[in-house]
């Protein structure tokens, strides 16, 4: 039971870390054609996420693996119920990864455009659909003792789409700030300007999220039971405001840090409301999958806790180290050279 609570928290942390980290490279991918006016701009954008995107994506695989190990029934239901949505996410991630790699190996050919499109669309699809998926989880899935009664179209309800839009907006701002942070000159200026404009969309989506959530979901039940929890959405709002303020001051670094906090806190806002559910049912509360009825045995959770306590800090340590190595802004000549020649 206590381990199940620990794993609920860890589950949330893994998803939040994934959204925070992959969020900026998904955002950079979505903005690839918008910000990348010239070939050297586009090379800079690719290069800005080059060393990190693969390591960032592993947070998703770890979140998936942790769901499997700690909450097998949730993993099984979530992935099979949302089959088609996950399929699209999967193809998005496949195209994206392959595009980044192949793009560099096929410069100057007509294929470049194909991989550019694969990079941009492969970034948009996961961002949007993870939002749609979590929106529907917040709202509750149409499932009962007999199974699941939804379709892909069912997932595209207004609330699901709203959360999808929120995720896209969060990642767009995040990505624009990252590009502004990692590049210089004209591209950095345009990225910061884009971040300022997109921030308005982000705030709009966040306001709609907070306004619609009490009507569409039961997330606020936890908040009314323990009002101190309102601190989490409160901090999320503060972080979002800080993003706008810092971006307006031209402080890309601080704005990006605030954006990291905003993504984590928005995720936390949803998951605090979700607790102790992982996959609530909107038809029959008894069919909801919770950390009580869907977790692994205490023995397995104990083993997995030890594994997480050993390896997650190590992973964080070396990922921070790698980010520090690549902390400087990228020069145009570096972005355009292939160090393997």
């Amino acid at each position: 039971m206590t381990f199940a609570v620990v794993w609920f928290v860890l589950w949330g942390v893994l998803w939040a870390a994934y959204f925070m980290l992959d969020g900026f490279d998904l955002g950079a991918g979505m903005l690839y054609h918008v910000l990348g006016k010239s070939e050297s701009d586009r090379a800079l954008i690719r290069r800005s996420i080059g060393p990190m995107w693969d390591g960032n994506e592993v947070w998703l695989l770890t979140a998936g693996g942790a769901t499997f190990a700690a909450f097998p029934a949730v993993y099984a239901s979530m992935f099979s119920y949302l089959y088609t949505a996950l399929l699209i996410i999967l193809f998005g991630l496949i195209f994206r990864g392959v595009s980044i790699e192949f793009r560099a190996k096929m410069t100057g050919t007509g294929w470049g455009k194909v991989w550019d499109a694969g990079f941009a669309l492969g970034s948009l699809a996961p961002a949007l659909l993870f939002g749609v998926a979590f929106g529907n989880i917040f709202r509750g899935l149409p499932m009962d003792a007999a199974g699941y009664h939804g379709t892909l179209l069912f997932l595209l309800n207004p609330y699901g789409l709203l959360i999808g839009a929120l995720f896209v907006a969060l990642f767009l701002v995040h990505g624009a700030l990252w590009v502004a942070l990692k590049t210089g000159g004209d591209l950095a200026g345009r990225s910061l300007a884009a971040a300022r404009k997109l921030w308005l969309v982000e705030v709009g989506a966040a306001i709609l999220f907070l306004a619609a959530t009490p009507f569409e979901t039961k997330l606020f039940d936890n908040y009314s039971a323990a009002p101190v929890l309102f601190l989490v959405p409160g901090l999320a709002v503060a972080a979002l405001i800080a993003v706008g303020v810092q971006a307006r001051r031209g402080r890309a670094g601080r704005a990006f840090a605030a954006s990291c906090a905003a993504i984590v806190l928005v995720t936390a806002t949803g998951l605090v409301g979700l607790y102790p559910n992982l996959l609530p049912s909107r038809l029959d509360p008894a069919s909801s999958l919770t950390l009580f009825n869907a977790s692994s045995s205490p023995y397995t959770l104990k083993i997995m806790t030890v594994v997480a306590l050993i390896f997650v800090p190590i992973v964080i340590a070396y990922q921070v180290w790698v980010y520090r190595i690549f902390r400087t802004k990228i020069a145009v000549k570096d972005a355009e050279t292939d160090s393997f020649y």
Binding site: G55, V58, A69, G147, F326, T337
Partner: protein, 459 residues
């Protein structure tokens, strides 16, 4: 309905995992050679080794990306298509997958980025260390996946409780001999794949007298690596045979098309299974006690025949039998070729053997075929079980899926994977043929587009 979903889901899993495993073996093997050459450069300062690390490293990367992205599909699919399986065994089977992501996949994915983009950011030693860490990451990743698969072949360390298999002994899962043997055999198969890849590409250039010192050095290292790995590969294969005979008698009987239970069973060199009549259509050339020796290293051991295994617990005999025989035959062919490559390289007779060099180019695909055959034996031989003796494959499929959904995803996977595989193999071939010409010995950097220009492409 469900039957169609089971059939389509099995087909999809087979397609996606076999495609995944076109790219993984080269990754598992080539990374060690690249690391080896980079360390040689660090130790000796000889620029030739830097060029070798860069040239083979570039081919490694082209191959690497498809292994990574198609791996995500595998993790998703257990939940998407095999939800009942995931629910039933997730308590024990999820752990190795989660550990793989946390302890191994992070390592390789983080340090590969550092290696690709860190040439000018890191000291020479740190840079060589980065690719070495990637190598350990890939091996560790393979280990946990093989332990997960090993548990499906030989489930250990669990108890049935609350309607599912729950883990009771993590050490039993982590030290499952079946998984470790699969791991050893898989790693060595990857080494042999990489070895033949380097031998073949080097042979291609040596035959054209292109960059002779560069490719001779590559060839010699790869020849030793391949020969040692091939010998060990045969050895681990033998150990696996013993393991299978003991733990999975149905698979063992299918591999050899053994219908009758026999004490001191002979090994039949040529035969053909006749499933309808539960016997072999013909048998030719028998080695007395051979099969008992193979299965138990004991000439008087009892080998269980397929007739003594209930019909609904027998794997499909013909494909398992054929795959096994072909795997073994091709395996020894690889051993022979590796030995000849080593011998000719050692005696300095490479340039005078153009036909052998051409043969080596043609042998590049052979390990790939052998590996796929090996996995067919392992996985099809486990049928009808998804977890041997514990859960049938047909009981593991997701209950909510409609056949049309799976058919659609199967078609999409076939198209997308087909296209990406074609592009990747094209790129591998193109960059292999081009040779290391662009990797300048002075360590300078030139634009990739300039290379294309030189090649006649548009800048």
């Amino acid at each position: 309905m469900t039957e169609a979903v089971v059939g389509l889901s099995r087909l999809q899993f087979a397609l996606t995992v076999m495609f995944h495993f076109i790219f993984v073996p080269l990754t598992l093997g080539l990374v060690w050679l690249v690391a080896w050459w980079e360390w040689k450069y660090v130790r000796s300062g000889n620029e030739k080794f830097l060029r070798m690390a860069k040239f083979w490293g570039k081919l490694f990367l082209i191959n690497f990306v498809l292994g990574v992205v198609t791996g995500i599909t595998m993790e998703f699919q257990f939940g998407m298509n095999w939800a009942e399986y995931a629910k039933y065994v997730g308590d024990i089977f999820g752990a190795p997958l989660a550990i793989e992501a946390t302890a191994a996949f992070f390592l390789e994915s983080t340090f590969i980025g550092l290696w690709i983009f860190g040439w000018k950011k890191l000291s020479k030693k740190m840079h060589a260390a980065a690719i070495t860490i990637v190598a350990f990451g890939t091996a560790l990743s393979a280990l946990w996946i093989c332990l997960a698969n090993g548990w499906m072949q030989n489930p250990v360390g669990y108890t049935l409780r609350a309607g599912r298999a729950e883990m009771t002994d993590f050490a039993a899962v982590a030290f499952n001999g079946t998984g470790w043997l699969i791991f050893a055999h898989t790693m060595l198969a990857g080494f042999v794949t990489a070895g033949f890849f380097v031998l073949g590409v080097s042979a291609y250039h040596l035959r054209r007298k292109n960059e002779v010192p560069f490719f001779k050095a590559s060839f010699r290292t790869a020849a030793v690596f391949t020969l040692v790995s091939a010998v060990l590969l045969v050895g681990t294969g033998d150990r696996q045979g013993v393991r299978v005979a003991k733990h999975q008698p149905a698979k063992f009987a299918a591999m050899e098309s053994q219908w009758e239970t026999e004490t001191g069973a002979p090994y039949t060199v040529f035969s053909w299974p006749d499933r309808a009549n539960e016997r072999n259509a013909f048998e030719f050339l028998k080695i007395p006690k051979g099969l008992s020796l193979m299965g138990f290293h004991d000439g008087s051991a009892v080998i269980k025949g397929l007739r003594d295994i209930p019909r609904d617990e027998r794997p499909p005999v013909l494909p398992v039998f054929l795959s096994f025989k072909l795997m073994v035959a091709f395996g020894f062919l690889m051993l022979l070729a590796a030995f000849l490559a080593w011998l000719k390289g050692k005696r300095g007779r490479l340039e005078s053997s153009p036909r052998f060099l051409r043969l080596l180019v043609w042998l590049i695909p052979l390990p790939y075929v052998v590996i796929q055959l090996g996995w067919i034996v392992t996985e099809l031989g486990r049928q009808p079980w998804i977890v041997y003796g514990l859960m049938k494959t047909s009981d593991g499929v997701s209950a909510v899926l409609a056949p049309s959904q799976v058919l659609l995803s199967l078609v999409l996977f076939t198209l997308v994977y087909g296209a990406l595989g074609a592009v990747d193999i094209y790129l591998l071939a193109r960059y292999s043929r081009r040779g290391p010409a662009g990797a300048r010995p002075d360590g300078g950097h030139i634009k990739a587009s300039r290379i294309l220009e030189a090649e006649g492409g548009r800048p």
